[in-house]
Symmetry: C2
Subunit: 491 residues, 2 copies
Amino acid sequence: MAKVLTSRKENYAQWYNDLVIKAGLAENSAVRGCMVIKPYGYAIWEKMQAELDRMFKETGHENAYFPLFIPKSFFSKEADHVEGFAKECAVVTHYRLKNKEDGQGVEVDPAAKLEEELIVRPTSETIIWNTYKNWIQSYRDLPILVNQWANVVRWEMRTRLFLRTAEFLWQEGHTAHATRKEAEEETRQMIDIYADFAQNYMALPVIQGHKSEGERFAGALDTLAIEALMQDGKALQAGTSHFLGQNFAKAFDVTFTDKTGKLDHVWATSWGVSTRLMGALIMGHSDDNGLVLPPKLAPHQVVIVPIYKNDDQYDTVCQKGEEIRKALLKKGISVKFDKRDTQKPGWKFAEYELKGVPVRLALGMRDIENGTIEVARRDTMKKEIMPVEGLPEKISALLDDIQEGIYKKALKFRDENIHYVDTWDEFVDTLENKAGFIMAHWDGTAETEERIQNETKASIRVIPFDSKQEEGKCIFTGKPSKQRVLFARAY
Amino acid sequence: MAKVLTSRKENYAQWYNDLVIKAGLAENSAVRGCMVIKPYGYAIWEKMQAELDRMFKETGHENAYFPLFIPKSFFSKEADHVEGFAKECAVVTHYRLKNKEDGQGVEVDPAAKLEEELIVRPTSETIIWNTYKNWIQSYRDLPILVNQWANVVRWEMRTRLFLRTAEFLWQEGHTAHATRKEAEEETRQMIDIYADFAQNYMALPVIQGHKSEGERFAGALDTLAIEALMQDGKALQAGTSHFLGQNFAKAFDVTFTDKTGKLDHVWATSWGVSTRLMGALIMGHSDDNGLVLPPKLAPHQVVIVPIYKNDDQYDTVCQKGEEIRKALLKKGISVKFDKRDTQKPGWKFAEYELKGVPVRLALGMRDIENGTIEVARRDTMKKEIMPVEGLPEKISALLDDIQEGIYKKALKFRDENIHYVDTWDEFVDTLENKAGFIMAHWDGTAETEERIQNETKASIRVIPFDSKQEEGKCIFTGKPSKQRVLFARAY
């Protein structure tokens, strides 16, 4: 059978793009940099949202919704923030169109110019802190633990489906606290939740740590991140959680009276993950035949394909298939029964391989005679014949096994691709010939970090939480260092 | 106790605004016409979303996501549509800001002007049909049954929280079909789903019917709507479903090959409900003491308030309260246990009345001695003492009773306020002195409809599906009519 995808070896970037499009996940739209998320891709995103939303609510967060537009002047209130976000953005300047005089279409009505331009939110700290000002007077009003599911826009010049798009979907948590300690704990709690989600739902091992000063969120005192390794040896930042200190509270004058009657500025955090996670999920596990989805996020965990030669056989096989579908459903397994007679079994097999359905069941006349069914798992491509008796329990266990198997495979790959290097030559050689994560010493200065990045395109992904203290020398300057940091080329 | 709300009698519009703000549902933002939906309001919206989404999926629809921005030229492709939507809209003209030369803030960078302006979507027919063009070749690709949950922007001059805002949240279904019949059936199915949702979840009776030609969606051949009656006697359009014929398929050149090999344009529908439903829910049931929420959409169905005089009592009452909370939760009832010792019981009673929690339980020392609890229902404000034994079953039944009671009350009010009138004087008098729905004869012309509206501010809400055929004379022109239509002043 002809391959529908470019292979990873041949051209990794092309393989990714082919896969996203051919598996029906997303496509480019008529608007530069904006994607259409197609139903199959959106169904995966919905599964991600549901789990994350549950995790947020279990830790006391509530959802709310803030305006899409932010007055231009708000961006100037926090000095770092304006540098980081207000530059490449969509600017609304007018609020009306009018018919052209020649009758050919519409044009902007110059009489309908806004007094102050509005920015389509690239992130919502400013409008939210401007709102919190009215919600907070006393320590009794704290903490505020609010999350928003929303679309945001950043005017990216080079875009890639899911990984970097002008408009993307995300959640942004924005919390307000009475003490520094509480805000720092919240910052850490949320990156832990993201790590939990990445590992236990996306089946992607991640390394957690602090961003270096140069890589911090614009306006943050500390940025925590989770970093995953893709199959081409490049890192992907999959989620961030920011300790904002009192910066936004000061910029928007948000104060509260503490228990002793003293007035202080409020402490803040913000944290987010986006549809970029879709890119991480796709690149983390998939192969040259298509997607490989972890069962916990697969829109359909199982697909049943009937095998038949004529109408009589079709009826018999469909009847049995329907029984099996119901038995699996009852066990809480999501099942698609593809009864279409417009497509052949071979076409369907290839289709569900491409779409990464974790388990494929094929049911024919001989199976019905023998009380068996063919069970194929997508991750290892292994097939076996199983008795239909007790199938739901076995499939349920198989799905758990696949979830774990996918994670272990990714973990093994990740661990095999963490390189400890101690010299500049080794560092450059590893980047060129092995790729992956590199743990190396760094002198802690922004200048060195920038020079390393300029020379190699590798950046400091995180200073890992679990990087132990040890004496060492910076690979670039030879200056003393007390801890290795995680380098990689990144998406 | 001082009333926190203006009474309905005193000033209905003010009562509504007070209620939305004081119950913590929403507030105005720093951006003209854009609201902030606060956590309590958003929790109700999430409940609505969850039920509607389930109903959509059960009828075979899938979710997807299309771009926020629409190229200006797309609006000129469907002639009616541009008139209806492209006029009052947010227009993105630039994609970059730069620092001002005086260092004071940022300004639009004139060098970053877009070649073609982008419109922030007021509705998505154009971008979606431009996308469907690539999805549809043959009858095998049909139907497409897609829904999108999204934000949209219409530049409204006079805005009111939830009822009319520049940005609002909604869902928009966009379906593509091979035949006119199938598209018409879909249009009807979706308005039936909206009516089901309004009646069985929002507890709001609605009248379903066709919009008159003048009130149709821009670009539709037929618009179906559900109309609810608010307590001030004004109508509120709560949902619409449009049969778009082949208009958008023709505008965007979307054709398919049917089973016989013939090329034809695709048939379309679109349908939507928005955060406006929040306004309908609030105005439909609430009273001068605050919100009245139907149990099926209440974020908390039950609140437990402990009554105590000292720390020992607090511990005892909280322990018992916690047992009760768990027992109710186990029965699938959502419960808030307000253990805060910073607020007094009386304050909490008023708070939950204002927030419309359907059932309030108060638990004190005497209750614990007697094995009882005080149960107060929000809708009728009636209280009774119940044994704690068997409480979950009783509360569950009580919640059903409240859901039904709220609906019946709204239905009685609605039915008492449908007036059948046959003369112009009666019509005008009814509008002035009774308000409500008016069933009257109309000669079927757009001209008469417009003149009636200009003279009375009453419009034709719908031509009801169940309006029976009868001979009559138009109340305005005296010309013959075969069917009464539904008039009202409306939100």
